[in-house]
């Protein structure tokens, strides 16, 4: 499943659609909730920090693999970006309730595998949620 994300006003709607589609496939509610949170954080990051990006979801028998990729502008300092509370979100994102600087850390702590690569050409975030 590949979904293009760029819509600020509808942040979360893509995640809800995916979560509803996977309800019949993922039987563990806690895994589904962790997946939902990680997807939501990824969707918000794409909508707030990039010029638009793609969420790619692959369903395996024991896990769900997600790749969130965009075309930039990239994360200058990944270590800083993973520090709780550090945020470069603009004021309008905070008015919507986002940008506390916890998103990437949240994905890292809730997922079973996590990787993040970024250059000025774009960012690729990958994570997996075990479903068994």
């Amino acid at each position: 499943m590949r979904i293009f994300v760029e819509d600020i006003a509808n942040i979360g709607s893509t995640t809800l659609k995916i979560k509803n589609k996977l309800k019949d496939i993922v039987s563990r509610p806690d895994a589904l909730r962790r997946l939902g949170v990680c997807l939501f954080e990824s969707e918000a990051n794409l909508a707030i920090h990039s010029t638009g990006g793609v969420l790619e979801i692959v369903v395996f028998s024991s896990k769900i693999s997600v790749t969130a990729s965009d075309n930039g502008p990239g994360i200058p300092d990944i270590e800083k970006a993973l520090t709780p509370g550090f945020s470069t979100a603009p004021p309008w994102a905070r008015e919507l309730g986002f940008g506390s600087g916890m998103g990437l850390k949240n994905i890292k702590r809730l997922s079973n595998a996590f990787s993040l690569m970024s250059t000025s050409a774009g960012t690729v975030l990958k994570f997996e949620i075990a479903t068994l």
Partner: protein, 121 residues
């Protein structure tokens, strides 16, 4: 605590009632940053009340993603038709009070609601 009791305790009203009306809520979490709300991950299936002063549809989507069935809007803030529409679609009950967040939390805590179990690690 039942939804009607919560509404009574905060002298509030129910704006959107489609959803799990008979649930018994034990825990609450209050925040205006949805990023913080997304940190509320309980391993148990405990019903949680989300108390917030943010009224855009993303609040409802955040609640739905976390399986939170009831959202209480504080500070008497107006709630748009779009937010109510999203709440109806996702079966999230929306309550409303004119109290500020601090007073709302104090009233509900005094009435028996506890803070939602959560971890920052």
């Amino acid at each position: 605590m039942k939804i009607n009791e919560i509404t009574k305790v905060v002298s509030g009203k129910i704006l959107q009632s489609d959803g799990k009306n008979d649930i018994d809520i034990k825990y609450a979490f209050a925040a205006d940053l949805m990023s913080d709300v997304l940190f509320v991950i309980s391993r148990k299936e405990e019903p949680i009340l989300l108390i917030t002063g943010v009224t855009n549809p993303s609040v409802i989507r955040t609640a739905a993603i976390l399986d939170i069935s009831v959202v209480l809007i504080v500070r008497g803030k107006p709630v748009s038709d779009e937010t109510i529409k999203v709440a109806k679609r996702n079966k999230v009950i929306v309550l409303h009070t004119n109290h500020i967040m601090f007073v709302t939390c104090a009233l509900l805590h005094n009435a028996g609601l506890e803070g939602a179990p959560w971890t920052i690690t």
